[in-house]
């Protein structure tokens, strides 16, 4: 306030005080827990009891959701369009498989190691996306994704090549909870990791760091002019996103006891983009809503047209863009914000 030397009159200072109160209130409101957040987690638990025969697809949703939420940090917050996010997912999947195969069968350890490994790859490759335009970023992320797929393919002695990795079975979680045949434990495990991951990213979203990411996305030139060190922030965000993408990959490995080279396939990077676009970017839960919708639609399509569901996914993408995905994904804003009704603005 020292910039503003003459804040002396009574009316000025009282209106300033009123402004401060309102500002504090508005800021608290920003990060308040929304109605739909509670619904999501209640539904996740309820599904466990109500849909015991659907554990596998629910698990798939939880994994895809974590993957998509991690991409949201890069795309929805920092505004970086990545075509190679599956590089981190796939790396995490392989690392978790190799851990279980050669070292420790305990899943949480594998999960953490996979997250760290992917994070390291994220950190290293983040420097490649700092320069250039959207196009060069697309290219580099795509290139990194393809390179990882090629590495996995070539290092068959380690990764099993085209056959993938199998022959391992994850041990009990933390030495206590054995995976069961119906995938119930696996589901709870994945939902647990998704919950923790989402909560961590949620904290990040509402921190000054999260705000600065959105500023970089909104207007990079101006964000630099308010002293935001854009590159550093992007490196950090990209690395964190890579950690969670790696963990999502690890979850897939651990719940299926198999790693297929498909974890690095290009279509996965495209799928996860689609997931986010369906659910909406920039508020994290878009990844979760999108994963639910996407998986259900894909499941339904692969039943009615097992070979050509890709066509309809493509059609969905085209229609989504033509209609205007902003308009579509704005539906979240119409959800009630909290339980009590009226709220001053």
């Amino acid at each position: 306030m020292s910039v503003l030397p003459q804040e002396t009159t009574v009316s000025a200072s009282s209106s300033t005080a009123a402004a401060e109160t309102r500002a504090a209130k508005l800021m608290k409101r920003r990060s308040r827990i929304r109605f739909y957040e509670i619904i999501v987690w209640i539904a996740a638990i309820a599904a466990y009891f109500l849909l015991p025969s659907k554990m596998l697809i629910l698990t798939e949703i939880a994994i895809l959701a974590l993957f998509a939420v991690s991409l949201d940090l890069v795309l929805g917050f920092a505004g970086i369009v990545s075509l190679g996010h599956t590089a981190f997912f796939g790396l995490g999947a392989y690392v978790a498989g190799l851990m279980a195969l050669h070292f420790i069968a305990e899943p949480v350890t594998g999960l953490i190691v996979a997250g760290i490994t992917s994070g390291v790859l994220g950190l290293l490759t983040s420097f490649l996306i700092l320069r250039g335009s959207d196009l060069t970023r697309l290219m580099t992320t795509l290139g990194i994704g393809l390179m990882m797929a090629e590495v996995a393919n070539q290092m068959a002695w380690l990764t099993g090549g085209a056959d993938g990795l199998s022959g391992f079975s994850p041990g009990p979680i933390l030495g206590m909870f054995e995976f069961d045949l119906f995938g119930k434990v696996g589901y709870l495990y994945c939902v647990g990791v998704l919950f923790i991951g989402t909560m961590i990213m949620r904290r990040i979203a509402f921190s000054p760091f999260g705000l600065s990411l959105k500023a970089i996305k909104g207007n990079p030139m101006r964000s630099a002019m308010v002293a935001v060190p854009g590159r550093k922030r992007i490196v950090t965000a990209y690395t964190i996103a890579a950690v969670f993408a790696g963990m999502a990959g690890a979850l897939l490995t651990q719940t299926t006891a198999f790693v297929s080279p498909d974890v690095l396939a290009f279509h996965r990077s495209a799928d996860v983009l689609l997931v986010l676009v369906i659910g909406g970017t920039g508020y994290l839960y878009g990844g979760i809503f999108g994963a639910i919708l996407f998986t259900l639609v894909k499941d339904w399509l692969s039943v009615i047209t097992p070979q050509y569901w890709m066509f309809y996914i493509g059609l969905l993408l085209v229609i989504l863009v033509l209609i205007g995905r902003d308009r579509l994904s704005r539906w979240v804003e119409y959800l009630p914000e909290r339980f009590s009704k009226k709220e001053d603005r």
Binding site: T136, L138, G314
Partner: protein
């Protein structure tokens, strides 16, 4: 050694023809069209169907591939693409990935998922020996056609009225409109022409690159490399980039087969870091 160089040049020339339409849409119209390979694939399949089902001569197939792909391009541009010129890059990416997926699934549905083979006319198949260098006749044919096309392209862009209109339309849409240039028409024709060239490339490349429904995805990265490394301000930039890529790829696969594809990805990433605006772009900006 020289044979590899020669094959690499043929491959690179082909890549240039395939990608140069993308140079225009991407570089000049600023549209990230990841579906460019789908137009090339269309040309390839036109050739396959005409030759294998109806026994039409290969030489007739090439112009037909051009025309069919150009028409598809024209129709799609008018109905879909034109609405997205102003859209965000993310939208363009999603949209064109959607087109790719549809093209792949539709091709698979109609033509099956197997590799398509064509029988080249006898005078184009086999090798001949020139000063001890084994030269594939078809590759020589490819080089000649592509070189002619590259020169023609350069002339069209720099010498004709259409070229100057295109450049004007791209430089400043509004000013060009004010000058009475029908910008949407120029864009549509350019897009169609670029798609046609891709189709031609796809037809000629069926022999060298192979052809199956995954073609658009498999070669997407190659096209993007040509454009992003070559830059978009000239015809010669992408041309050189395509040659370099072709030679590097063929040589890489021959000498270090284990890490073949690796070489080009690594090369691309290094180039993008060193010269984010393209290898041959005029610096500054």
């Amino acid at each position: 050694m020289l044979t590899i160089l020669f094959d690499g040049i043929a491959y690179g020339m082909l890549l240039f023809i395939l990608a140069c339409g993308l140079t225009v849409t991407l570089g000049l119209m600023n549209f990230i069209n990841l579906a460019h390979g789908a137009f090339a694939m269309a040309g390839g399949y036109v050739t396959v169907v005409m030759m294998n089902r109806y026994g039409i001569s290969f030489y007739w197939c090439l112009p037909a591939a051009f025309i069919v792909s150009a028409l598809i391009g024209l129709v799609l541009e008018r109905t879909l693409y034109q609405w997205l010129y102003q859209a965000s890059h993310l939208d363009q990416v999603l949209f064109s990935i959607g087109i790719v997926f549809m093209a792949i699934a539709a091709t698979d549905y109609f033509m099956g998922g197997q590799q398509q083979l064509i029988n080249l006319p006898p005078e184009l198949s086999g090798r001949m020996d020139v000063f001890g260098v084994g030269i594939g006749r078809y590759r020589l044919f490819t080089i000649i056609i592509c070189a002619v096309l590259a020169v023609a392209l350069q002339l069209i862009l720099s010498k004709t009225r259409f070229g100057s209109r295109l450049r004007a339309a791209v430089d400043d849409r509004r000013v060009a409109m004010g000058l009475g240039i029908n910008v949407p028409l120029v864009f549509a024709l350019t897009f169609a022409f670029g798609s046609g060239l891709a189709g031609l490339g796809g037809a000629m490349g069926a022999e060298i690159l192979g052809l199956d429904p995954n073609f658009p995805l498999k070669f997407m990265i190659y096209f993007l490399i040509v454009v992003s490394v070559g830059g978009t301000s000239t015809v010669s930039g992408p041309f050189l980039a395509a040659l370099l890529l072709g030679i590097a790829d063929v040589a890489g696969k021959y000498y270090v087969p284990a890490i073949g594809p690796f070489v080009i990805y690594a090369l691309m990433i290094v180039m993008l870091i060193v010269r984010p605006n393209g290898l041959f772009s005029r610096g500054g900006r």
